[in-house]
Symmetry: none
Subunit: 412 residues, 2 copies
Amino acid sequence: MPVLVMKFGGTSVATLDRIRRAAKRVGVEVAKGYEVIVIVSAMSGKTNELVGWVNETSPMYDAREYDAIVSSGENVTAGLMALTLQEMDVPARSWQGWQVPVKTTSAHSAARIEEIPTDNINAKFAQGMKVAIVAGFQGVSPEGRITTLGRGGSDTTAVAFAAAFEAERCDIYTDVDGVYTTDPRVEAKARKLDKISFEEMLELASLGAKVLQTRSVELAMRYKVKLRVLSSFEEQTDDAGTLVCDEEEIMESNVVAGVAFSREEAKMTLVSVADRPGIAALIFTALSDAGVNVDMIVQNISEEGRTDMTWSCPVDQVARAKQAMDDAKSSEVINYSDLLADTDVAKVSVVGIGMRSHTGVAAKMFQVLSNEGINIQVITTSEIKISVLINRKYMELAVQALHDAFELDKAA
Amino acid sequence: MPVLVMKFGGTSVATLDRIRRAAKRVGVEVAKGYEVIVIVSAMSGKTNELVGWVNETSPMYDAREYDAIVSSGENVTAGLMALTLQEMDVPARSWQGWQVPVKTTSAHSAARIEEIPTDNINAKFAQGMKVAIVAGFQGVSPEGRITTLGRGGSDTTAVAFAAAFEAERCDIYTDVDGVYTTDPRVEAKARKLDKISFEEMLELASLGAKVLQTRSVELAMRYKVKLRVLSSFEEQTDDAGTLVCDEEEIMESNVVAGVAFSREEAKMTLVSVADRPGIAALIFTALSDAGVNVDMIVQNISEEGRTDMTWSCPVDQVARAKQAMDDAKSSEVINYSDLLADTDVAKVSVVGIGMRSHTGVAAKMFQVLSNEGINIQVITTSEIKISVLINRKYMELAVQALHDAFELDKAA
């Protein structure tokens, strides 16, 4: 029988009523003849409660204990979902990560899935079980300790199961009804996309469109897992939501698929760094070691052996970055005169595979921003996206102006 | 190094502050030179929340899913306790039941511990770990599914670990400072016992004195585990609490050690059962299969081939018992005219090893109740206890009158 993977996020299982609603969706797919693997998150708010306790108990916590604690929320949902399906006379049982087992690396709190054996669950399917409910976000390390995949990791669990079981599709149920050209809270004319390519989704996901975890999209792209994002709060139809798929499956598309943004950015500049070969590697290794996720990087032209180095990172990592640079200076690894931090910036990006064949997207973007009097502080580009860092107060204006200019409210 | 087992119940770990207080107690014992195994319950209220969800989702739940769900609370406490000890620079780590592994039978929600391998934890002790924190109440079945030992099962976990690791003592930290002659909330003159025999404790535990789970006392008696019950809310002294020990270690004791009671009892009567050899076995097998914990049993004298069968069970199992009897009737296994349920009764018992050598305890008990105008509905006795079922509204009166009559406020 064909296998379908269905993933329900925290808001989709926030209460017993919502779990029932999700279970009904599962029942519909079972009735169509699927064997279903359901991946569940913790009930909305539960993981945050657990994380709060950990932080209060031990600010520099042992990640192994953190994982053992925060993974418990998913276990509860998995059991409740199994019971709900059983009440509907659908043969179902729950699995915790270690029971499958979802084998991961030992990188606690940021583990990567290495293997998902299918025999255990397939044996139960062969015995007539129709639904396997698996606690998302968790696995087990080679040492036999519980690991977690990082926040939002249940999406990754879902895609990994879809790949391992060669599922026909992986449906991600969430609190939005699909992927939009931009956030409808910022631009009312934002339009839901019926299809989007893996590449575009990847850029949107990593740029702050919080629909799917980046790694889950990477994984789906690698294993050609058809991914559908849809709402658990609306009636299900066969073409509901947004299908994330191979570029080839999309007949027509706009040059630009969407406008993404990230509000909580900071721009940091290391002023008058003693420039020498390898200095960039030193700086960014130090930042990386300190757990700072550097995004954009700009280096000014070097004069008289000194240069300015600018990067962006999430606002809440500024303190950590400062500490890392202070340490590097006092240990004489890096020599610089000053470190500036502007915590009042935002990133706005346009994304689209059409950029590969269409020129002038960047020029148009800069012109639109210029027309609105918005100063561009940093620019980065990839094959299918252009990102700019701007003053945060212009973020909404920039998103709206770009959405309009690229006519994203109109289908291709 | 000598091993000490310390068990902290739900109220003793109800908040992060209380977990810290418990961790300090553990630290004191580590400083004395013990290797400590800490057994933790779920934070107070958490298990009830989970059980509530299960019951709301599926009144006739699959016990395997129930176990997977309700065991999650203990995992959270175990991790938090490990982090708290680590913050105090005490080397500690948490274990979930399946990680030890605590091997149990497959009797979900009422599993029995079959084996606790010590190698895993001892290897860590050998590496310098001082405290192993184990999630109580849970284990793993031969099929690899999570089991639980029944409510209060963390006591049993603690005693089983004390036996497996040949611990010097098993300290049960709870919200009361020891074992009393009766519940002080019902009888203000109730007195704390310094020592009590395993046998008496067993009767008190099974009769509803909620200090220790019955099976934990049985296990302690079988493996000669010295058990101490003490409060986690008072300063610790060497003779704090109540020591549960062998009869031989108690020099003098009252004939009656205590008065126990159980409020939420129900009396059920199967009216006019077709009587034939083996009918009792049929009835009580059916009830047992339905998960009804039958306590007292009375059979009326059989007349003309028909008899009445009366039993008591917890109030919340009445629906299940009715269902089992209905099923047995419709499948023509048991023939009866009516099933009556009186959910308005309570059980009161007097317990004491002194009864073995002193006669007249039963007569005195019945006289005391008669003097108060309390009608006795069912009587059962054992070597060291006498129990009666009475109308619930007289329960407190009966306990007070018996406590007075047997002079339990005075030490032997």
